[in-house]
Amino acid sequence: MAIRTPSQTIGPFFHVGLKWEAGEKVAFESPGGRVILTGRVHDGAGNPSADALIETWQAGPDGRAPVPGSAARVTGYSRAATDADGRYTIETVMPGACTGADGKKLPPQIHVTIFARGLLKALRTRVFLAEPAAIKGDPLARAAGPRVGTLIALRDAKDSGTWRWDVRFQGKDETAFIEI
């Protein structure tokens, strides 16, 4: 088996090569309930990380992998760089329920890949867009145990279509990252 090419950091200048037109707006072929996922990325000192890149991948509203569209755009995938306050914002739709290996339905979740200066390889995790009670049986929620709260987005009190989710690279409430 061939040796894989190793990962290296994205560095601070990735915007030069990784800008997509409307990259933070996820396209789908079929419509769904509009969702904004937004939050901030913090380092271990609590400072905002202004040079991180968040990418997301998710099922469509039907719970299936998005089908390629007819446009020049990619479907189901987003890319958003953080701003000076470490904030990212992604505009998407509520992912449908996928079926897990055991045949059970999985609660709505978004796959997240995080790149940044200082990350020699990407961090991966998933964020749930659901109430804590609705994710109890999910394999990731179980694996996260007491850290599961770091993977649950909170619905905005005023705008029910907006969900807030912060990322902490380390320290108290360090986000639960996963190996994939």
């Binding site: 061939a2 030069v16 090569g17 271990g44 990418e55 079926t99 360090e174």
Partner: protein
């Protein structure tokens, strides 16, 4: 480390010689969890996502960029040798004097009005790709005294599945800065480090116009799963 790696291929998160890792590396171990069905799928980039001109970084401006023109070719495969077809490969780099066309880059080296330093292609049926660019310069980066990055090109790959996503850097053979670059040397294994060094490939150059360099990229297999799951 993936279950299928017999050696550590990727660098660790915590690598204090590269100072920015100190506050950004997670302290808790990564969770091991059964793969989610969406991880074996991935975004499909339509042909129209890229235009042919995005493979040539030397024709972006009104004139030719300064520097040593080069042709970069290679194949993207997975670790079982299967070609990774129709897959997005994005590239960015500094110009020949070591300066990025980026507002945060304060290095006192000139910008080149004819060089932006960004390109993208979709791989072909055999996983092959080709870029025309110029050889990037070395640049200082304040990580430690005499910290100068060896000449490198940043590459971003999607593979054909979400789990194959990779961002890496390409280096040049014989660069005297390689042994003292903490980012290159964060990869613990020598043979894995050599995966990031391209080869001079005259066959794919253009005589008296551009040198050729070859860089094959190997992504993880789609079916590899975390250890013990």
């Amino acid at each position: 480390m993936s279950a299928r790696d017999r050696i550590d291929i990727d660098p660790p998160y915590d690598y204090p010689a590269y100072k920015s890792t100190i506050l950004r590396s997670p302290k808790q171990p990564l969770l091991r969890v059964a793969p989610h069905p969406m991880e074996a799928t991935g975004p499909v980039f339509p042909r129209k996502f890229v235009t042919d001109s995005e493979a040539d970084l030397t024709t972006w401006g009104k004139g030719a960029p300064l520097g040593e023109k080069m042709i970069l070719t290679g194949r993207v495969t997975d670790e079982d040798g299967a070609p990774v077809r129709n897959s997005l490969l994005e590239l960015w780099q500094c110009n020949s004097s070591g300066r990025y066309a980026h507002p945060v880059d304060q290095h006192d080296a000139p910008l080149d009005p004819n060089f932006l330093g960004q390109g993208k292609v979709l791989t072909g049926d055999k996983g092959e790709y080709r870029f025309v660019t110029i050889k990037p310069g070395a640049y200082p980066w304040k990580n430690h005294p005499w910290a100068w990055r060896p000449a490198h090109i940043h590459l971003s790959l999607f593979g054909n599945a979400y789990s194959q996503r990779l961002v890496t850097q390409l280096f040049f053979p014989g660069d005297p800065l390689l042994p003292i670059d903490p980012i290159f040397n964060s990869v613990p294994d020598e043979s894995a480090r050599q995966r990031m060094v391209c080869e001079l490939d005259l066959e794919h150059g253009i005589e008296e116009v551009a040198l050729g360099y070859r860089f094959d990229i190997v992504l993880r297999g789609v079916k590899s799963t975390p250890m013990g799951v």
